[in-house]
């Protein structure tokens, strides 16, 4: 029988385009996001469960949910 390997999913912020509004911080159930020095959102990878709430909330749509190790 074939086994499917599911990789962990994490939120990734495009920090260059982030407006640092903090909408993502408010909706994160894991308290895994902070606004770093008023410049951009930063995700604590060890806390993030990849639920995607932040990505849906982000008014600039600059958060993506990616599988670990996946690069763009």
């Amino acid at each position: 029988m074939e086994r499917t390997i599911r990789r962990k999913r994490k939120a990734v912020v495009d920090t260059d385009m982030c407006v640092a509004c903090g909408c993502c911080v408010k909706v994160c159930p894991m308290e895994a996001i902070e606004i770093w020095r008023g410049i951009a959102a930063r995700v604590a990878e060890e806390k993030c469960v990849g639920c995607g709430k932040c990505a849906r909330e982000c008014p600039a749509s600059v958060i993506e949910i990616r599988e670990e190790g996946e690069r763009r």
């Binding site: 020095r37 008023g38 008014p59």
Partner: protein, 191 residues
């Protein structure tokens, strides 16, 4: 999630808009929405105002989110570009200084007080019912009319982009947000 006192700032924002309908002099209170974010970013180096206390953002979040008035679509790329954000900030500044100039003209007696609220920098709405005289100079009232125009105009723009895109789309191009982020960038460096 636990609610804090500052999660109810949307009531203050709403009250501000309503109060300006009855007495235009309340518009002066809007200066707090200018000075508090600037102070927080300059002194603490954070966007604490946007992140926690901004009642306007909360109001859009509520109307677009819980009330369901937003299509929740992605904002166009050009609207989140730095060019547009800084351009809008510059435009906002120019219009703001024009408003200050009009106030100055009333203060020095060159122009008369105009009891109008200018929407979207173009449409002049009669607003005389909200003016009941002032103990001070008519220039004080002129500033209130001008400032209320700025606040109402930005609310309308925010409501339009709330409906078209995501609830808090206004936050993407809000001049105060752009300015405080710029201050934080300069203050904290781009590490």
């Amino acid at each position: 999630m636990k609610k804090h006192w500052y999660d109810y700032m949307w009531i203050v924002s709403l009250a501000y808009l309503i109060l300006g309908f009855f007495n235009i002099l309340f518009a002066w209170l809007g200066l707090l929405c200018f000075f508090i974010p600037l102070l927080i970013s300059a002194v603490k180096g954070t966007k604490g105002y946007c992140n926690r206390y901004c009642g306007r953002g909360q109001l859009f979040g509520l109307l677009g989110g819980r009330v369901g008035l937003s299509r929740k679509r992605d904002i166009p790329k050009w609207m989140k570009s730095r060019g547009f954000r800084y351009g809008f900030l510059a435009f906002f500044f120019v219009m703001f200084f024009q408003m200050l100039w009009n106030t100055y003209l009333v203060f020095v007696g060159t122009a008369d007080l105009k009891q109008v609220v200018t929407l979207l920098w173009t449409f002049k709405l009669p607003w005389q019912w909200a003016y009941h005289g002032t103990l001070f100079h008519p220039g004080v009232a002129q500033f209130a009319f001008g400032f209320y125009s700025v606040m109402l105009t930005s609310t309308i723009l925010g409501l339009i982009t709330m409906v078209l895109f995501k609830p808090r789309s206004w936050c993407v191009y809000c001049p105060m947000g752009t300015m405080t982020q710029m201050i934080c960038r300069v203050r904290n460096g781009r590490k």
